[in-house]
């Protein structure tokens, strides 16, 4: 080959190489540019109530954990190698979403009576695809109030729904429903005994509207049964007494509830003074119209 040709060949080879490498770079960069999404899912079941999944999407961007908002997550039931889509949700401003099932009958368990759910995100321009699978079995909590020696107790049993067998040595939380976070009662850890039950005394003097309280017995985030919550309503609380002065006449109430003293006395003073002022102004008018009959005497 001639010298020129050789150089041309080498030159084109180098150019091709450069293209190839940059091409790879590009491909690699595409993937490297997108951020990885981490999904989390918690299964919650309320006894005699709904079943739902608390979903969350986060991503680690610039060494900080950031909530991923506005992405679509698909929830499917894995059953017999099939994936049946149950629905889609979109995460909110805080990267969270709640997917509600009416009850567990809507989904199918596998042969071991375990429910398998997959939450997936098919990815978009900014984020890679991701998925998370959770498995759980159905558990039941039966809870009620019993009174012994004039002390109220919460009695609860934990059972596996399918085998109908009692589960012992599980930690249950007993708490009272409150506005922001529930108030725990009893010990921090109430362990179910060999009969799968717990007995927790209710402390005195918990206030509630009209004395009504709602207790929650919760199996929190267990590996095999998820979160199960039973609610017990009981009027064992102390009725709330309103302390607000809103309805009274006070110095700080709005003007329709002025203290009577301030309504009466200042208004009397005002009427008194302005009455005199009006009388004086009337006098001015009287002066300006002297009676014609009288003799003028300067």
């Amino acid at each position: 080959m001639s010298h020129l040709n050789k150089i041309r060949n080498v030159f084109s080879a180098i150019v091709y190489l450069i293209f190839l490498i940059s091409g790879f770079q590009n491909l690699y960069a595409q993937d490297a540019e997108k951020n990885k999404v981490r999904l989390k899912a918690d299964y919650v079941k309320i006894m005699d109530g709904e079943v739902y999944f608390n979903l969350g999407a986060t991503s680690r961007i610039n060494k900080e954990n950031v909530d991923v908002a506005n992405i679509e997550l698909t929830i499917s039931n894995e059953f017999d190698d099939d994936e049946i889509e149950l629905g889609k949700v979109i995460t909110d401003m805080e990267g969270r979403a709640k997917f509600v099932l009416k009850n567990l009958a809507a989904i199918q368990p596998d042969s071991t009576h375990t429910y398998n759910i997959v939450i997936s995100f098919k990815g978009n321009d900014a984020f890679t695809r991701a998925s998370k699978s959770i498995s759980f079995k159905d558990a039941i909590i039966k809870a009620n109030i019993i009174t012994k020696d004039s002390i109220n107790y919460i009695s609860a049993s934990l059972l596996d729904a399918q085998k109908d067998s009692l589960l012992s040595d599980r930690l249950l939380n007993v708490q009272v429903q409150r506005l922001f976070r529930p108030l725990p009662i009893g010990k921090e850890f109430n362990s179910t005994d060999e009969n799968g039950t717990i007995l927790v005394p209710i402390e005195e003097g918990i206030p509630g509207v009209d004395g009504k309280l709602t207790f929650e017995v919760v199996l929190k985030e267990s590996d095999d049964y998820g979160t199960v919550k039973a609610l017990v309503n009981a009027p064992v609380g102390v009725p709330i007494v309103e302390e607000s002065t809103f309805d009274k006449r006070t110095m700080w109430s709005p003007r329709n509830k002025t203290p009577l003293f301030l309504l009466i006395v200042p208004n009397l003073l005002i009427i008194g003074m302005w009455g005199i002022i009006v009388y004086l102004i009337v006098n001015l008018f009287k002066i300006s119209k002297p009676k014609i009959e009288k003799n003028e005497n300067i």
Partner: protein, 438 residues
């Protein structure tokens, strides 16, 4: 009863001399400058002042309190002296009434300057709460304005009738106005009866109204927790302080007018002597209140009170504090206790000192207390730890003072400064007495 020509010629309003014209124009210029500064404030917000979240009230409020205090002169001079039968007051009552009217009108205007949202002024009437001391202020100030105007107007009626005749040939237009304002005054028995009765009533009404005005002004401060304001003394303290400020202003203005209009025959050394004694009496009462207010906290030495007292007596505000109390109070008292001190010229200087001391005294009431809150001043810029008024505040405040003086000037220009008819009546009375003596 017949008003001599001499009397009318001496006391009728005259055109301004050159000095008067220059004086008026000066006041107008200052007022316009202030109005421009105020418009800037409305546009930009009160950020143009040097007020901040700690010094949240500044000279707008202390100026307002000064005006309210000065307007007490009407109640004190006209009403109190009347009830105590001090007949020497005749030549100065009109000036006192004029100062009263000017001061209380400017008080009403000045307080609106301090509002962050003057466009929502009507809220005070639509949504007003009777529990708030500000609403009591909003009620009493218009009431006192009307009462002061009536107190000025009723005695003017016969004088207006006289002036209508006096100016008939020289300035017919002016004469027509005087005629209208005189309300067809003929001096008939009926009219006199109504007028005298009305004067008696309005003079009597001025006293409770004036007392209420000063007390409510004091309660703007003493209904709050702050150190230096939370004093059971405040109401009486303010009434006494208002007497001092009012009489001080009266003395100063009377001297100037007397010189400008050559009224030495009517406002004599005797009148100055009497005014001097009155002023020293009010100053002594005020001194007593000051001693109570400033000495007792030093005795009990409560932590917060002592911080406040130290700032006044030996700290940041010490020069001002001692000026106000020594030059504004002690020196006037000492000077006025001597007959020589009660001559017209020394009294003019004393009066001026008293007014100056009164104005800065109200600054000392407002600012040091606000800069000494219960919780430490943290988390705010260093500038917020001090307060001195900005250019906008000075311009606007100067404008309000100029407008007050402008009102006085205009009223002095067109109203007979000394009540003509009344002076004639009193002279006739004197003549009759003299005659009967012989």
């Amino acid at each position: 009863m017949k008003v001599t020509n001499k009397l009318i010629n001496d006391l009728a309003p005259r055109e301004f001399s050159k000095a008067g014209v220059i004086w008026t124009w000066l006041l107008i210029i200052i007022s316009v400058a202030g109005i421009i500064a105020y418009i800037d404030q409305v546009i930009k917000g009160q950020i143009v002042t040097n007020m901040n979240d700690y010094a949240l009230w500044g000279i707008y409020i202390s100026n307002f309190v000064f005006f309210v205090a000065t307007s007490f002169v009407g109640a004190v001079t006209v009403a109190v002296l009347r009830l105590t039968n001090n007949s020497w007051r005749t030549p100065i009552v009109r000036i006192a009434e004029i100062i009263s009217v000017a001061a209380i009108i400017m008080a009403g205007i000045t307080i609106m300057i301090d509002m962050g949202r003057p466009d929502r002024l009507l809220n005070l009437f639509i949504h007003g709460r009777m529990q708030s001391p500000i609403i009591w202020d909003v009620i009493i100030i218009p009431t006192y304005i009307v009462i002061s105007l009536l107190l000025l107007y009723f005695p003017l009626l016969p004088d207006f009738a006289l002036l209508k005749k006096h100016f008939k040939k020289t300035s017919p237009k002016l004469s027509k106005w005087y005629g209208k304002l005189s309300l067809n005054w003929t001096g008939s028995a009926d009219q006199k009866r109504i007028q005298l009765k009305s004067i008696q009533i309005v003079a009597f009404l001025t006293i409770p109204a004036g007392f209420m005005l000063q007390t409510i002004d004091a309660w703007l401060f003493s209904t709050l927790f702050r150190v230096g304001w939370d004093s059971t003394n405040m109401g009486a303290y303010f009434i006494s302080g208002a007497s001092v400020a009012g009489v001080g202003a009266l003395v100063t203005v009377v001297y100037v007018i007397r010189r400008a209009y050559k009224l030495e025959d009517y406002i004599t050394d005797y009148h100055f002597d009497k005014m001097g004694k009155f002023l020293v009496l009010t100053c002594l009462i005020y001194l007593y209140f000051n001693i109570n207010e400033y000495l007792i906290p030093e005795f009990t030495s409560k932590k917060e009170e002592i911080t406040h007292m130290n700032v006044l007596v030996s700290g940041k505000y010490a020069p001002l504090f001692w000026f106000v109390n020594i030059a504004g109070l002690v020196i006037p008292i000492i000077t006025l206790l001597f007959k020589q001190g009660r001559k017209p010229l020394p009294m003019f200087f004393i009066g001026f000192l008293v007014v100056l001391g009164s104005w800065w005294k109200r600054y000392l009431i407002v600012t040091p207390t606000l800069l000494n809150p219960f919780l430490p001043m943290e988390g705010v810029p260093e500038e917020w730890h001090h307060y001195f008024p900005s250019l906008h505040e000075w311009l606007i405040t100067a404008a309000t003072l100029a407008m007050a003086l402008l009102i006085i000037t205009i009223l002095v220009r067109y109203l007979p400064i000394i009540p003509i008819q009344r002076t004639a009546d009193e002279q006739k009375l004197l003549k009759t007495e003299k005659n009967t003596e012989i």
